[in-house]
């Protein structure tokens, strides 16, 4: 009947010493008790409101009792709201946690600090209706998102935007969970390969991208640097996502890049010797390169940031060799020009640093030596590729061209006994003409020019022409003197040519110096036919 059961009345009666309360009396009292309690609460709520609060405190109840001329209940006065605990085993019985306190402890504890005195702080909540972004004010976004109402003068007002709610369908959630599970636990299975394929192809995965990027970064950064296979699996997932043409992953790249780069230049990847972390590094290097090529135009500073990070790792002698290896691989993957710009200038110095590590006598630790050789290999590879690229622009013409080149070679070799200046003079006219007539695309001057013009045409040819000539000149094992002479003269011819000459001069120099550093192995990066020129 009443929410106060008669048992409660009986208990209260017993607690004040009335033991023979008849159940009729209790039954009659119960509703009245409820009514009185409600009455007190009504008054207490009034007191609470007038104290400008929305939480009822024990003080309010005391004030309410006071209003009704009832003696207040002692022992509960507290400025804070009470914390009730649920009695175990009972559904709706609560009590206030009131621990027994040892009196001695209370006496012995040092006096607590006096509470801070009340004070008033002033700030601008708004200046002409606009809230300044100062720490005293609530962050503007949090609120304005939900209930922004724009006012217009005509009175037809109110544009309320609801916050965009991100809803993930059940299927996508399942998909995500499945992929995650596969990645973490079964990355060797064929199912995982299928999954990667699906990640790279499926079109409806865009809502999951933030989750995947978070998953990857979270896993890499927090947990699994020790777990090699998981790392590899994660990177594969990342690659698949990046390959997916239907996904706009750009907004999430910044979240993904750190973890990917971590996998490249981390000190340790995996915790066993058997883990082939070199593979992973190579893989990731390729991945980074592909990211840079694909998103470089969107993120202007993407590549520069990546290279800076990698260069930093490469040039820091305190970093371990495996980190160096990763950095070199990454830089190499970014293209020969990067290698040319960033690695080659430091190459000589670095090799000096590396050399003692590689020698059996100086480095006893076989593991370290192995690493050093790895790094050496990577460097060699990078430098070689760079040279190859340099030469490729020169020599790797379509078959026709190489034929022409060989012709040319023959021609040049023939008068090799002549003075270089003569040579130069001989070459000069066609070069000049090519340079001037190039844009027209017509080269009737000599057969060589026509040959060369054949497939490509366009503006690039005039640059290639002189290059070919000059590099051949150089490749005739001419002395430096001659080279300089040639290039000097060429510089005078035109600015376009100057650039080409310079590059080529460098290219030649490059090969030479690389040869000094790496020895013969460098030549494996050039074709036999080309090599022929050099030797």
């Amino acid at each position: 009947m009443s929410i106060v059961p008669k048992e409660t009345i009986e208990v209260i009666a017993q607690s004040i010493g009335v033991y023979n309360l008849s159940s009729d009396v209790a039954l009659a009292l119960a509703p009245d008790v409820e009514y009185r309690v409600r009455e007190i609460m009504q008054e207490a709520i009034k007191c609470m409101r007038h104290a400008h609060r929305t939480v009822l405190t024990a003080n309010d109840v005391d004030s309410a009792l006071n209003l009704r001329n009832v003696e207040p209940i002692y022992g509960f006065a507290s400025g804070d709201s009470l914390r009730f605990k649920r009695a175990s085993g009972l559904k709706d019985l609560y009590y206030i946690d009131d621990k027994d306190v040892e009196l001695r402890n209370v006496i012995e504890t040092p006096l607590p600090k006096a509470p801070l005195d009340t004070s008033v702080a002033v700030h601008w909540l708004a200046i002409e209706g606009v809230q300044p972004a100062i720490p005293e004010n609530a962050p503007v976004d949090a609120v304005s998102d939900g209930r922004r109402s724009e006012y217009r003068e005509d009175g037809i007002s109110v544009d309320i935007r609801l916050p965009v709610k991100h809803v993930l369908s059940k299927e996508l959630q399942l998909y995500f969970d499945k992929i995650r599970e596969l990645t973490v636990s079964r990355s060797n299975s064929t199912v995982f390969k299928q999954a990667l394929l699906s990640l790279a192809m499926d079109s409806g995965l865009h809502p999951l991208v933030p989750y995947f990027t978070y998953f990857i970064s979270e896993e890499v950064v927090t947990r699994s640097l020790k777990n090699f296979s998981l790392l590899f699996a994660l990177m594969r997932v990342a690659r698949s996502l990046l390959r997916n043409p239907h996904i706009h992953i750009e907004p999430y790249l910044h979240q993904m890049m750190p973890s990917v780069i971590t996998c490249l230049v981390s000190k340790r990847l995996g915790n066993r010797f058997s883990d082939n972390h070199w593979d992973l590094r190579n893989f990731v290097a390729d991945l980074i390169a592909s990211i840079c090529t694909r998103f470089g135009h969107v993120y202007q500073n993407l590549q520069s940031r990546v290279t800076r990070t990698l260069l930093h790792a490469f040039l820091d002698p305190t970093k371990s060799l495996s980190q160096h290896y990763g950095a070199i691989q990454g830089l190499a993957a970014l293209g020969p020009s990067v290698v040319h710009l960033l690695i080659l200038p430091n190459l000589e110095l670095y090799l000096k640093f590396l050399e003692p590590e590689m020698l059996l006598e100086k480095q006893k630790n076989e593991m370290k030596r192995h690493e050093a050789w790895r790094v050496y290999g990577a460097l060699q590879c990078a430098a070689g590729l760079c040279v190859y690229d340099r030469l490729k622009t020169v020599l790797l013409r379509p078959p026709k061209q190489s034929r022409w080149e060989s012709n040319r070679k023959g021609m040049i070799v023939f008068p090799s006994k002549r003075k270089a200046s003569m040579d130069n003079l001989m070459l000069q006219p066609p070069v000049k003409k090519m340079a001037t007539l190039g844009p027209m695309g017509v080269m009737p001057v000599n057969s060589m020019a026509v040959n060369m013009q054949g497939p490509s045409g366009g503006f690039s040819t005039p640059v290639e022409g002189p290059r070919a000539g000059v590099s051949m000149l150089r490749h005739l094992q001419n002395e430096k003197m001659l080279r300089r002479e040639v290039s000097n003269q060429a510089l005078k011819t035109s600015t376009v040519l100057a650039q080409a000459w310079k590059e080529d001069a460098e290219g030649g120099h490059l090969l030479a110096s690389l040869y000094e550093l790496f020895g013969e192995s460098m030549f494996s990066f050039t074709r036999k036919s080309e090599l022929y020129f050099f030797l």
Partner: protein, 698 residues
């Protein structure tokens, strides 16, 4: 009367037998007689004799189950009725419901009453939650007598507006006696209105209990025209003790809401109109100076002020036109003060005039700057906050009976000196342990013996009043830092105290259900306003000092004439306790905020609600009109300050009369971090000050 009784018996007999044609004819006849006697048109149904008859009639089957049965039938019938009539019929349900419950309790069927209550409680929770919570505790007939809310319910009738063309028809054609019967029949066959529907239903289904209750407790105000929409239902929500008619009669009284005849603003306008253009130019400069003056705390705002200057110029053009409008409006009525008001010293007058001249004009396009005073380390003890007219003083009333006043001008210095102290920590901090408390950042006023619930600065800031749970009001001097007078008169905690806009007089409101008017030089109240049915929670002066408004826990706002002490208006419409009031500076409107977060704007002259402003989600602690009355600021427990556009709110009503929709005209919501806003105050230059205690988020 005997004759009438016979007639009524016949009527009920006809009803009983279902002779509706004959019954209607009879009814019309009776109504005609009644209305010619200038009484209520259809109070045949309200006649106690009749209801008695019904009750005896149904005594034979007087089972508690019948209430439940009949109520549920009525309910399902109401819900299945046509949409057009549903609203009106739904209004009937609630009073029927509570009276059923109380009848059951009164007859001692407590158990049944409980189950009945719980069964149908959900229907009404949305509208009447607080009443239901009160009634829920009623568990014995004696409680009914004791509890005033129930008591007043039992002894008064509920007014329900219900439409019927019949009334109007009869009224206009009083002289054509002969045709009335026919016409009324005719009319009824055409318009099946709610009222008729209800009666017919009740008769058909023999719901004698329901009919009894409706007859006994509900007073139908039959109104002509189409069934009204939801928005019109405000009046039935509040069940007040006094008769609705009495309230209506009260609201017929004349209210002179005009401004005072010789107010400073008035004088300013007279001089202002002459040199308006001149003034506008000067205004820019002064506004900037003003701006700099008012930013003692923050230094580096030069860029903002320059920007502001430009903006001001742009706004000025619009401001000028709007001011002209304002002038035409405010030139309307002028009244003489009924009280002998104090005379202001000339230098003060000059400074006020200066302020008025430099006032920034606010509108929906030019929102005010808000300076926020946050009380920190209050330990849940701050009960109220108050800001002086110029914002230089802030007072806080605490639950430890103390009143603390901060001087904002000194606050900046304090920060500097304490910063210096931090550097040389070896010296003891004298400002904290100083015995005479002189070096504290605030002035402590001790004297009360109970929580301080309200504080109010005098218009010039030289006095402060505080009201407390110890039933007293104390007057303190901010110059002498001492208690001057203790006013004893209330018998219960004094919830609110408020200085007169001109000073000298003040009003207080208390748990003893009265509001009182005092003057500073007398320790006895000058007037006692009694009439509220529950605590008087807040009190505000009308701008012309002739009236005070009080808001109460009985969910009404009343306007009292100060000189006569009479209640001149009752504003009914709120659904919970009134917490805050504000009077518009032109004296025409009043705003009131309640516990649920609803703000209502009232037209004092008509006593009607102009517009409800919905938006807050929790108690509206404070309201303030800007000085020219174009904006209303509200502060709430939901940690926001909201700015409302008042001018369009009122304009829309004038042009469209009833748009029906409650449009939000909230201009801006300014959230604080986690500080409920206790107090708002517009300075004379229209800078808005707000105060609140930082509450921990837990």
């Amino acid at each position: 009367m005997d004759e009438l009784q016979v007639v009524e018996f016949v009527a009920t007999y006809l009803k009983k037998k279902g002779f509706s044609e004959a019954e209607n004819a009879l009814q019309a006849e009776i109504q005609r007689n009644k209305s010619s006697n200038n009484t209520n048109p259809i109070d045949i149904l309200n006649d106690p004799e009749l209801s008695k008859f019904f009750r005896t009639f149904s005594e034979s089957e007087d089972g508690p189950a019948r209430y439940q049965d009949e109520y549920s039938k009525l309910r399902s019938w109401t819900y299945s009725s046509l949409d057009l009539y549903k609203h009106e019929l739904l209004h009937v349900l609630y009073p029927v419901f509570i009276h059923c419950f109380m009848d059951l309790v009164a007859k001692g069927h407590i158990q049944e009453a409980r189950t009945f209550f719980n069964n149908f409680r959900e229907d009404h929770e949305m509208m009447h939650l607080r009443d239901l919570q009160k009634l829920e505790g009623v568990l014995s007939p004696s409680h009914l007598e004791e509890m005033e809310f129930a008591h007043s319910l039992r002894h008064s009738k509920v007014n329900i507006k219900i439409c019927q063309v019949l009334y109007l028809f009869l009224f206009t054609s009083l002289h054509q006696n002969t045709y009335i019967v026919k016409k009324s029949n005719h009319c009824q066959s055409f318009y099946q209105y709610s009222y008729e529907l209800l009666l017919q239903y009740l008769h058909k289904t023999q719901s004698t209990k329901m009919l009894g209750i409706i007859n006994e407790r509900i007073n139908f105000q039959v109104s002509p025209g189409q069934p009204s929409s939801i928005s019109d239902d405000a009046e039935i929500v509040t069940l007040i003790g006094s008769n609705q008619d009495a309230a209506n009669q009260i609201n017929q009284k004349e209210v002179h809401w005009g401004l005072l005849e010789d107010s400073l603003e008035n004088r300013l306008e007279k001089t202002g109109l002459i040199s308006d253009s001149e003034k506008a130019e000067g205004e820019n400069k002064e506004a900037e100076i003003d701006e700099n003056k008012k930013r003692p705390v923050e230094g580096g705002k030069q860029g903002a002020s320059i920007k502001k200057l430009k903006k001001d110029k742009a706004i000025n053009a619009t401001a000028k036109t709007s001011r002209l409008e304002a002038n035409t409006v405010s030139t309307a009525p002028r009244v003489k003060p009924d009280l002998a008001l104090p005379v202001m010293p000339t230098e003060v007058e000059q400074s006020i005039l200066e302020d008025l001249r430099n006032r920034v004009h606010l509108s929906s396009a030019a929102l005010p700057s808000v300076s926020f005073y946050t009380f920190i380390n209050t330990h849940n003890g701050l009960n109220c906050a108050s800001i002086s007219q110029d914002g230089s003083l802030v007072a806080g009333g605490f639950s430890d009976s103390s009143l603390k006043v901060w001087d904002m001008a000194k606050l900046g210095q304090q920060a500097v000196s304490s910063g210096l102290q931090g550097e040389n920590d070896t010296t003891p901090r004298e400002d904290i342990i100083g015995p005479n408390g002189r070096k504290r950042s605030y002035t402590l006023y001790q004297g009360h013996s109970g929580p301080v619930y309200s504080a109010s600065f005098s218009p010039l800031g030289d006095f402060i009043l505080s009201s407390s749970a110890d039933t007293t009001i104390r007057l303190w001097s901010t110059k002498l830092n001492a208690n001057l007078v203790c006013y004893k008169g209330h018998n219960y905690p004094v919830w609110d105290v408020q200085f007169n806009p001109q000073g000298h007089y003040f009003a207080s409101s208390s748990h003893d259900r009265t509001a009182r008017i005092w003057s500073m030089d007398r320790i006895q109240p000058l007037r006692i306003m009694a009439g509220h049915l529950s605590d008087v929670d807040c009190v505000r002066w009308h701008i012309n000092c002739n009236y005070i408004a009080t808001g109460s826990s009985d969910k009404t706002v009343r306007l009292w004439d100060v000189s006569s002490g009479e209640c001149v208006r009752i504003f009914i419409g709120h659904r919970s306790m009134i917490l805050s009031l504000a009077m518009s500076p032109d004296g025409r409107y009043m705003a009131s905020g309640d516990e649920d977060g609803t703000i209502m704007m009232w037209d004092l002259a008509s006593g009607r609600c102009v517009t409800p402003l919905m938006g807050h989600t929790s108690c509206v602690w404070t309201l303030a009109y800007s000085c020219e009355g174009s904006l209303l600021a509200s502060g709430s427990a939901d940690c926001t300050v909201k700015l409302w556009d008042v001018t369009t709110s009122t304009k829309v009503l004038k042009t469209e009369e009833k748009s029906g929709t409650n449009r939000l005209r909230s201009l801006k919501t300014l959230p604080t971090k986690s500080t409920p806003v206790y107090s708002l105050q517009f300075s004379r230059r229209n800078l808005l000050f707000a105060a609140g205690a930082l509450s921990k988020t837990s």
